[in-house]
């Protein structure tokens, strides 16, 4: 295994472009090292992106949007005085990952690119409309988070492409987001279902919404039917029932010891309802 620590994303991209065999980028390493140690994946080339300038920065831009460096950790996100005020769902989803020790290293980008359908931060990012900037041999482009995973452990990134920043939209007025997951224990477990909801209100009426489900299909899903079920409503009982039905209908889960197909499908509906209620209360300013 060759270890590189390039000083720029262009250099990281060129290293990956010219590498042969298995290439991995090293952010927090909480997936890469587990796979290395258990001999699941031994990269031939490992490209540590943490020495690139600015990769730990969390910046609020003048238009209210946020730019996060690709090595910003869960702990740094939780400690930030304002990020969690704008995007509590995204920060909480990231904070659910692992222990204090794992939080000290794990990143949004690593969680996304590891490609787990159960990755906790991904439904929250999809609901929030987060994009990532991808730097490749031909320059940089912005890609919506939902277009990165293509299946378990697989992404749409081409050889030589590296994510160079995470872009969270401006929160704007009367908006709120939330993420909930179901796990069999209270801490340190993998989501059986995860739900991210982000919405905006005009008075009591939902004018915009995005609903995303994790761990119920080969990739995290953006469920437009579920968003349509609540847009134009006050999140009354009829809207919540429609949301529940749409979330369950979108599920195509696996059956395993941690949750059967029937269980995951039902829980997705229930969690969608609960998550939407939190996002709604946040949008109204009634809940932090």
């Amino acid at each position: 295994m060759d270890y590189h620590s390039p000083a720029s994303f262009a250099e990281a991209s060129a290293l990956a472009q010219n590498a042969t065999g298995i290439t991995r980028f090293l952010a927090g390493g909480t997936d890469v090292l587990v796979q290395l140690r258990s001999e699941l994946v031994t990269p031939d080339t490992l490209i540590d992106i943490k020495k690139i300038n600015g990769v730990h920065d969390i910046t609020r831009n003048s238009d209210g949007s946020w730019t996060l460096g690709v090595a910003a950790t869960g702990a740094e996100m939780s400690e930030h005085p304002e990020l969690g005020h704008d995007w509590p769902g995204v920060v909480e989803a990231m904070d659910l990952i692992g222990s204090t020790q794992v939080q000290g290293r794990a990143t949004l980008t690593g969680n996304l690119c590891n490609g787990s359908p159960a990755a906790d931060s991904v439904p929250a990012m999809v609901a929030a409309g987060v994009t990532v900037t991808v730097t490749g041999p031909e320059g940089a482009r912005d890609v919506a988070v939902e277009n990165i995973p293509t299946g378990p452990g697989k992404t749409s990134l081409a050889k030589g492409e590296v994510i160079s920043s995470v872009n969270i939209p401006a929160r704007g007025e009367n908006g709120g987001d939330a993420y909930l997951r179901f796990i069999p224990r209270t801490e340190m477990d993998i989501a059986v279902v995860g739900v991210g909801v982000n919405l905006r209100l005009d008075g009591d009426i939902i004018t915009e919404a995005r609903v995303s489900l994790g761990a119920v299909a080969p990739t995290v899903l953006l469920v437009e039917e579920a968003a349509r079920a609540i847009i134009g409503t006050t999140l009354d009982d009829a809207a919540l029932d429609a949301l529940t039905a749409a979330a369950s209908a979108a599920c195509n889960p696996i059956d395993d010891k941690r949750g059967t197909i029937a269980f995951r499908t039902e829980v997705a509906g229930v969690l969608a309802k609960r998550t939407a209620k939190i996002a709604y209360a946040r949008a109204k300013g009634e809940q932090a």
Partner: protein
Amino acid sequence: MSKLHVTTTVNGDEVEYLCDPRETLLDCLRDKLNLTGAKEGCGTGDCGACSVTVDGRLVCSCLMLGVEAEGKQIETVEGIADGYVLHPLQKKFIEYAALQCGVCTPGILVAAKSLLEKNPDPTEEEARYWLAGNLCRCTGYDKIIRAVMDTAAELREAS
């Protein structure tokens, strides 16, 4: 495969080692620097027995490569006592019998010290969540939590 040269600071002392890029920081601490306080309980980030701080941040040394330590400040359990004078946490762990086999203890001491530096007045719930990544198969956790809470109270009085 060529080895990489790393210069880093461990418990205040500058140290150097040569490592294979696949070796973890835990391997390097134990096998190259003879600092065997950090333990390998699992090697996959689940047990916390390998806990150290890197630039003040609590991490699992089994989930970090030795080469990543270049230029960093590492603190391990060996640096907690001041010579033969035990740290208040260590004294309380003995007083409360907060250990049996002791395999988890170095990691828990490092993690608890890092908690008290960040939050000198944690609630019991905060302490339990902070230490959720440190597994102990012997004590049932209660004595550990009581030792940590009592140390916190004592340190608050002393300051």
